[in-house]
């Protein structure tokens, strides 16, 4: 039951079907990589999991630890333990990272309970150290004027602070130089454990050298066409997505 499960999901954006019958299970404690070419529907899946209002679910189900996610608003999903690291995180002018995270944590407390400020800052600084972030970062407005690397690190910092049960990392490696990639990967790896399931969405194999997945899925044309162990990523790197596309005609393999 402790798994994020997608069953036969079909999703449309403005009358065009982007996700076309996708089935996927990410048990808590595992890291699953979802690879695929541009336009295969990876980011759409991420948005739908998080409950973005612009995407229309035509059919299928999504369960998180047995609970039907499609019946919940985006913020309810988040509070129940789903986290999405955005490919393009939004700027929130004038709202500092410290205040933003504080508000997000406060929103998880029962009514009338107040977040303890001293503990909060201690924990925040600890996580920032882990991610090699300067303390002055906390007083900068969320994503405003951030470099690509800073944005991605800020996403991982939020993930570390919010302690989700399941995290979807959408192209977290895009736009990162090798040093930034290593820092981000180090952050993600340090959060790995039996209480967290991760869906790692990426276009390139490169990230998987640093965050080694338990399973790899290949998504083409809105479906998963192939699943396997981490070696599948290497095979894919070698043979290219065309090879995967050819496989699409074949029955989908399970892990």
């Amino acid at each position: 039951m402790n798994e994020l499960r997608v069953e036969n999901l079909r999703v449309a954006v403005a009358d065009q079907e982007i996700v076309r019958g996708l089935t996927l299970t990410v048990p808590r404690g595992e890291v699953h990589a979802l690879m695929g070419p541009n336009g295969s529907g990876k980011s759409t899946l991420a948005k739908v999991l998080a409950g973005h209002p612009d995407y229309r679910v035509i059919a299928g189900k999504i369960f998180m630890d047995g609970e039907n996610l499609l019946e919940l608003e985006a913020d309810e999903r988040a509070r129940r333990g789903l986290f999405l690291a955005f490919q393009y995180p939004s700027e929130i002018p004038g709202v500092t990272i410290a205040n933003f995270l504080r508000a997000a944590l406060q929103a998880r407390l029962p009514e009338g309970e107040e977040l303890e400020a001293t503990d909060y800052y201690a924990r925040l600084y600890e996580k920032m150290e882990l991610l090699g972030m300067d303390r002055s970062f906390t007083s900068r407005a969320v994503n405003e004027g951030f470099s690509g690397g800073e944005k991605k690190r800020a996403e991982i910092l939020q993930m570390a602070m919010l302690e989700p049960k399941y995290a979807v990392l959408d192209e977290t490696d895009s736009g990162l130089d090798i040093d930034a990639l290593k820092t981000v990967a180090h952050g993600v790896n340090s959060l790995r454990g039996p209480n967290l399931g991760i869906l790692l969405i990426t276009h390139y194999q490169r990230l998987l050298n640093y965050i080694v997945p338990d399973h790899v899925h290949v998504m083409v044309g809105g479906r998963i066409v192939r699943s396997g162990r981490k070696e599948l990523a290497l095979e894919l790197e070698e043979r290219g997505y065309d090879w995967a596309r050819e496989q699409a005609a074949e029955p989908v393999l399970t892990r």
Binding site: S90, E91, I92, A107, A117
Partner: protein
């Protein structure tokens, strides 16, 4: 590391309640010379005040409503249905214990006495037309600081009151300053002697409790040479079915080298017409600073101004207006440069929610013969929904050489992606919006006193909670 202090314990979000009226003095509905005489009799006005009122009434009746440039909404005010004076008929009390029970209950619910103990140098509480309580800390009083209601001011300190009364804002400045001059009652009179720096703020709290009523307080603050004072005013009213009118006149006089900071936090119910005239006079090297936050009301028209009369005088207006569904905040600033090397600064932020409408009107005037004057104007508008509206009308007249003026304006909108991003972190839609709004005003609010900024943040949250379905 920034930590938050606890908010002032006035819960203006909970201002929507009232107790049955127990007024002994009631001028009745409508406005005529009889009304003026009733008020002057009850208040035992000196003759010069009675005459002043009668002249002002004439001016008020002659002046048309400013609907040609302002809002047609003004026509919804029925001047014949308003009651212009209501009071419990008791003297202003110095001790909280002596305040009548029903009124005490109101202010206790709003947290007034608690607040006074905490951090204020003095408090005045006005209930409908009259101050029911006024007190100043002993140490502040011993420095010669005067803090009383306007009635006591004009009676007990005529030698200070009279020379400045109605000098900064003449009766005929506009229709509503004339109305206030005719029927004024309540408000504060403050005098700070030369060199005295009042450390803690003086606060007045204006409460409307009665329906079909107009509140017309009159405040005059005089800061003598080299003195400093901060004044905070708060206002609330319950929501009645008929419109309520609030039309104050506030005059500030900062003599040579003096500093006055005037802070307004108002959270009016959504059917209050709030038509207020506020202006300060700054002599040589003096500073007048208005911090003005407008939340609530049906229509607010308010443009705090500073006349910089002496060399190197400074004027500042920092304002925030939040126009919710069905509300119009028509606010701005007036900066009149009347001496060399004077500087003024205007920062205005407005937020429009739903069908709310925010209008900025600014007037900056630097005549030709002046040298080395500076003005900086920034006005930023935030639109929450596609139906929200904002307008900016800056009027900047700068003549002569060697004067500098700078004007920046921006309009931004809270995007759906931004809200989704915040919701993904666990914030509800209302929380996400209120955080966006707080972020928008953050750089301005940081310049406010801490107690005030915390309270403001909370008020914005309350306002946003009510506006998201």
């Amino acid at each position: 590391m920034k930590t938050e202090t606890t908010a002032i314990n006035i819960d203006r979000g909970k201002g929507d309640f009232f107790y049955p009226e127990a007024h002994v003095r009631d001028a009745g509905a409508g406005l005529s010379e009889r009304t003026i005489h009733y008020i002057a009799d009850v208040k035992e006005d000196p003759d010069w005040v009675r005459d002043f009122r009668l002249r002002a009434l004439k001016t008020f009746l002659e002046k048309p409503l400013p609907t040609h440039w302002a809002s047609k909404e003004l026509e919804a005010i029925d001047f014949d249905k308003i009651r212009y004076y209501l009071s419990p008929g008791t003297e202003t009390k110095r001790s909280w214990e002596d305040v009548p029970d029903d009124i005490k209950r109101t202010f206790e619910r709003l947290g007034i006495p608690e607040q006074e103990r905490k951090f204020l140098a003095g408090v005045e509480a006005q209930f409908d037309s009259e101050a029911v309580y006024s007190n100043i800390k002993k140490a502040v009083g011993e420095q010669g600081v005067i803090f009383v209601g306007s009635r006591e001011g004009l009676k007990n300190y005529p030698e200070i009151f009279r020379p400045w009364f109605s000098k900064v804002i003449p009766v005929g400045d506009n229709k509503f300053s004339a109305l206030n001059s005719a029927v004024f009652s309540g408000g504060s009179f403050i005098y700070v002697p030369p060199g005295v720096k009042v450390k803690h703020p003086l606060q007045a709290y204006f409460r409307i409790n009665a329906e079909n009523f107009g509140q017309f307080e009159r405040t005059l603050i005089i800061a003598d040479e080299g003195s400093e004072v901060t004044y905070m005013e708060g206002c609330t009213a319950p929501k009645f079915n008929t419109p309520t009118l609030h039309s104050a006149v506030v005059e500030l006089v900062a003599l040579k080298g003096a500093k006055i900071q005037y802070i307004t936090v108002q959270n009016w119910a959504s059917n209050v017409f709030n038509l207020v005239t506020k202006r300060g006079l700054a002599e040589e090297n003096a500073e007048v600073k208005w911090i003005d936050c407008n939340i609530g009301s049906r229509l607010t028209m308010k443009y705090p101004g500073v006349i910089m009369k002496g060399r190197k005088a400074r004027g500042e207006v920092l304002s925030i207006a939040l126009a919710n569904d069905g509300q119009h905040q028509d606010t701005g600033a007036k900066m009149i440069h009347a001496a060399d090397e004077t500087t003024s600064n205007i920062v205005s932020k407005s937020i429009s929610i739903g069908k709310g409408r925010a209008t900025y009107r600014g007037l900056v005037h630097v005549p030709k013969h002046l040298k080395n004057c500076k003005n900086n104007t920034e006005c930023d508008a935030l639109l929450i929904n596609a139906t929200s509206r904002t307008d900016t009308y800056p009027a900047i007249t700068v003549r002569g050489t060697g004067n500098a003026v700078q004007h920046e304006a921006s309009v931004s909108q809270v995007s759906a992606e931004q809200i989704f991003y915040m919701q993904q972190r666990g914030l509800s839609e209302a929380q996400a919006m209120s955080l966006s709004v707080n972020g928008f005003v953050n750089d301005l609010v940081r310049q406010f006193p801490m107690e005030y900024s915390v309270e403001l943040k909370r008020l914005i949250e309350l306002e946003m909670e009510g506006s998201v379905g």
